[in-house]
């Protein structure tokens, strides 16, 4: 009788799954949901850029419609040679966000590999951490500028450069996450249960590290995006005919007085996207926080 009652209470109170809890907590956070919506819009732009605004519009100029204000035909107006700003922004999304994501993924993969080697092998750890020390001492922006100056500011170079600059940070952060997990009793317990290194990494270490890493990577995407735009803005990244947002801003500085819209629109695009990613990342971190997993 009592056993049965116990069993019932157990069932009644404890059937929630972990993933559903996380989703529920995430959607309770309004700012994070706003971030998610904006990110979905941005993704939509990236995937359907050609449908929303034909690719020709990025370069096609219409001298009669120079420096037009916003209208039905040109949603965000046109620039000084009559290119449609909206089309350029939509296609610029691919470049700017693409650089952010690309640089993050590249540095994440390399950083995670280095970090895993550090966490699993004591001797390699010593060597890698010394190298990371030196790497950290070279001012990030200087290293980025030197690389861009010598290799030129193409999209690929920008991704590679930002990734190189970002690797030591990722390595150090992921390493500390991994080391923290490796010290836990359950890793020792899995070893005693006969689990080999490969399975240990895949089934125990990675699943426990992945939350922290995802949140970190999300935040890094926005930081990388802003850096890419900044470098293009000062003329070291992607150069102006490209609709990269930083490059558009760089181009627009010549028209401060005559057409401030040219400045405001890509500026707003950069800020809103970065803000959305940050809000999403914040919300994700709070939702995944093991402290609220009770």
């Amino acid at each position: 009788m009592r056993e049965k009652k116990l069993k019932e209470t157990i069932q009644a109170t404890r059937t929630r799954s972990m993933a559903r809890d996380v989703v529920k907590r995430f959607f309770r956070n309004k700012a994070a949901v706003f971030g998610l919506i904006v990110i979905l819009v941005v993704l939509f732009f990236i995937i359907f850029a050609n449908v929303i605004a034909p690719k020709e519009l990025v370069t096609a100029y219409d001298v009669r419609a120079r420096m037009a204000g916003p209208s039905a035909e040109h949603l965000f107006g046109t620039d000084n040679i009559g290119r449609d700003t909206f089309a350029r922004i939509v296609h610029g999304t691919r470049i700017t966000v693409g650089i952010g994501v690309g640089a993050t993924l590249l540095s994440l993969v390399l950083g995670a590999i280095l970090a895993a080697v550090c966490a699993l092998f004591r001797k390699a750890d010593m060597v890698i951490m010394r190298i990371v020390d030196v790497w950290n001492c070279i001012p990030a922006i200087l290293l980025a500028l030197v690389l861009l100056a010598v290799f030129g500011g193409s999209v690929g170079n920008l991704i590679a450069t930002l990734a190189i600059v970002n690797i030591p940070g990722f390595t150090a952060r992921i390493r500390s996450v991994l080391l923290n997990i490796v010290e836990q009793d359950y890793i020792q317990a899995a070893r005693i249960s006969g689990t080999g290194t490969g399975r240990l990494v895949l089934r125990h270490i990675l699943p426990n590290a992945v939350n922290t890493i995802i949140v970190d990577a999300t935040m890094t995407i926005s930081a990388m995006m802003l850096s890419a735009a900044g470098l293009s803005f000062i003329g070291m990244g992607v150069s102006p005919p490209s609709p990269e947002w930083g490059a558009m801003l760089n181009y627009a500085t010549e028209y401060y007085r005559t057409n401030p819209m040219l400045l405001i629109i890509p500026g707003a695009a950069v800020v809103i996207t970065a803000l959305a990613i940050n809000l999403f990342g914040d919300g994700l971190r709070d939702a995944l926080d093991p402290k609220s997993l009770k």
Binding site: V134, C137, I138, I141, V150, G230, I234, A274, L275, L279
Partner: protein, 308 residues
Amino acid sequence: MGKYIIKRILYMIPMLFCVILVIFLIMNLTPGDPASNILPITTQQSVKDAYNASVGYTGPLGLRFLNYLKGLFSGNILSYTTRENIFGELAIRFPITLRVGLIGFLLAAIIGVSLGILSAVKQYSFVDTALTVVAVFFGSVPAFLIATAGVLLFSVRLGVLPSFGLNAGIKSYIMPVAALTISGIPVISRMTRSSMLSALNQDYIRTARAKGCSERRVIWNHALKNASLPIITLLLTGFAGVLGGSVIVEQIFSLPGIGLYMLQAMNAKNVPVVMTCALLLAFIFMVAMVLMDIFFALIDPKIRARYK
């Protein structure tokens, strides 16, 4: 402690050596040369070679590096483009960067830390929420956009502040400093808030309350001192970053500081200038790290005991 600091300072020498070596290798092993970067495209190859030889961009790599080191120790390295002593040029330019960077950084630190403390103490109140929202927003606005928006508003629209140069006295500094300050505050205030909150959650805070400390005493005497270690870390690494990040602000406002100097040197493949700037920035970064260790030892007796 003294012994440890000396060790740290000695450790800086090989690190700095590595830094300039890395920059040297990148600059020398990549395509392009000073002549092609500066002289018109139509210049004959023989003229280019003569130019490269005249500035010293020739001969075996080891020798070039040795020459640089020699110049470094004798305090006389010539810039490829101006043929002037780099130290002389830096002496004019570095103070400008330092002034903008230092003022901007100090303001950001003071405002950021105060707002962070306020947020933590009033956790979940309206003030905290408002500050968090503002911090998240400005955390997503890069310095170059703040600067651009400033130029648009104060130079173009209102016409009260100059948009470039240093000719308007103190007025010329307002916008560059403000751009650095505003972009620095969010990170600092969020960091301060979280470390204050974690300090306020500690057992010894409860003990302090239990013995009758006023809330103000709890915050200033017990929590803040314990929260200060991560804040100091952020500020000191941040300061080195601000100096490096001055490139963008200097470019926007055309300030003749070391950021702009560096940028021009990179485009001209002016190897010694780039190396010297890297050396300077790396040196400042490492001094900041040593300072950090000193602060840590001053604040935390456990760390202090380790050095004895």
